[in-house]
């Protein structure tokens, strides 16, 4: 007579319906005579059922955004990692050159803007809309832009910007955002899971100059 250890090795095949007739009959006979094994098999089936019903989670809303940003960085680094020799010159060369020119132009544009001021309407919301519709409209996805609004003098200017490409993981990204919390009014950290894209994520007031508001945009 075979022992319980032998029969437990057949449990999975039995549950999956993979046992041949002879082995299945032998196991059933054993289960009828051995309540411990029968109980164990029932418990295994219950656990397996529970595993199949575990809820499925979905990637966060920022998942695609961050992946695209990391891919852009990957694309920029690719030519450096594997410089192509002359005999490989093809259509990619002008493509890389055009992409590089675009990057330089875009960087220069933002750099120039970072020291400029623009006239805006009086209220924050109108100013924010103006910012979104006009000067920031051309910014490609993957950038965090910080704008300062002077609600008294009706001015705003871009005070800083950063590519979210410069983070290696979602955890880094969140950590980096959390560290910007220096003088923000406590309205909560930006929540990238729920924040709609192309909208300001947070507003903050400067302690020393209350008429100034700072806004972050994520593109």
């Amino acid at each position: 007579m075979k022992n319980c250890d032998h029969y437990t090795t057949l449990f999975s095949d039995y549950i999956d319906g993979d046992l041949d007739d002879r082995a299945r009959s032998s196991l059933r006979a054993h289960l009828a005579a051995c309540p411990a094994c029968a109980q164990r098999l029932n418990a295994m089936q219950a656990v397996r059922g529970s595993l199949a019903q575990l809820p499925h989670i979905k990637t966060s809303e920022s998942f695609d955004l961050l992946l695209q940003a990391r891919l852009r960085r990957e694309m920029r680094q690719a030519p450096r990692r594997r410089p192509f020799p002359l005999f490989e010159l093809n259509w990619r060369v002008p493509a890389y050159a055009a992409a590089a020119l675009c990057l330089v132009f875009f960087g220069a544009l933002l750099q120039r803007r970072s020291y400029s001021s623009f006239i805006a309407k009086s209220s924050d919301s109108v100013a924010m809309d103006t910012v979104r519709r006009t000067d920031l409209a051309a910014i490609e996805p993957g950038y965090l832009v910080f704008v300062e609004l002077d609600t008294v003098n009706n001015l705003y200017r871009i005070i800083n910007y950063g590519g979210i490409d410069n983070v290696n993981s979602l955890q880094d990204f969140r950590r980096a955002l959390a560290q910007q919390d220096d003088n923000r009014t406590r309205t909560g950290l930006p929540n990238l899971r729920t924040a709609p894209q192309n909208r300001s994520v947070t507003m903050r007031t400067r302690q020393d100059m209350p008429q100034l508001r700072q806004a972050e945009f994520i593109f």
Binding site: T8, T9, F11, S12, D13, I15, D18, R40, A43, M44, A46, V47, R48, G49, S50, L51, A52, Q53, L54, P55, H56, I57, K58, T59, S60, F63, D64, L66, L67, R70, L71, E74, S169, L170, Q171, R174
Partner: protein, 197 residues
């Protein structure tokens, strides 16, 4: 791009072939098709959503970098699961090294308590969230080789053949490992009355 995402009749192998010919829409379609599956696999393996998302991100970056490493002799799904599985195992090893420090900072009483207190309250397991947490803790306690097979087979519901291809082990080994993993999990959860999730 969106067209490809919405065409389930295009096989994975066709999508990767197009991506190998620099069709980025095909890459996006693969991401769309696999991101949640891989997230669930990595999440059940690591027990942490953020770490799991990072693993999936890294998996797709590896796919982007190494698209030509894929050969049509293997199923694409097993290939990408293998990448994610290897990354998840590496993350687990890193985490163990980090944990050596934190556990050494704990007192003996702290070490003993962890999951057992919750498992002991068998009659109080009343809601699905807690059930899920307890099952996840039991999965976390399994050695990685058992954890992988049980996730792939019983949670992801892949075939034994697919599990064998992903883990690069023979079919017989997969089957015996799944059986042992189920027995271990059943032993850990034997005192829990499972309400429906």
């Amino acid at each position: 791009m969106s067209d490809l995402k919405l065409q389930p009749d295009i096989s994975d192998e066709e999508l990767i072939r197009r991506f190998q010919e620099d069709d980025f829409a095909a890459y996006n379609a693969i991401v769309h098709r696999y991101k949640d599956q891989l997230l669930n696999f990595a999440y059940r393996f690591l027990g942490n959503v953020e770490e799991a998302e990072d693993i999936v991100q890294e998996t797709f970056l590896r796919l982007y970098r190494n698209k030509h490493a894929y050969r049509q002799i293997a199923k694409f799904s097993t290939w990408i699961y293998t990448i994610a599985g290897n990354l998840a195992k590496t993350e687990l090893r890193k985490r163990k090294r980090r944990r050596v420090v934190s556990i050494s900072d704990m007192g003996f009483e702290d070490k003993d308590h962890e999951i057992k207190d919750e498992l002991a309250n068998t009659e109080q397991v009343a809601n699905s969230a807690l059930t899920e947490k307890i099952i996840q803790q039991a999965i976390d306690e399994l050695p990685p080789r058992f954890r992988q097979v049980i996730i792939l087979r019983d949670i992801q519901e892949l075939s034994y053949e697919e599990v064998g291809s992903i883990l690069r082990i023979p079919l017989g080994t997969v089957k015996s490992r799944v059986n042992r993993a189920r027995l271990k999990l059943q032993a850990k959860l034997k005192d829990i009355k499972m309400p429906a999730l």
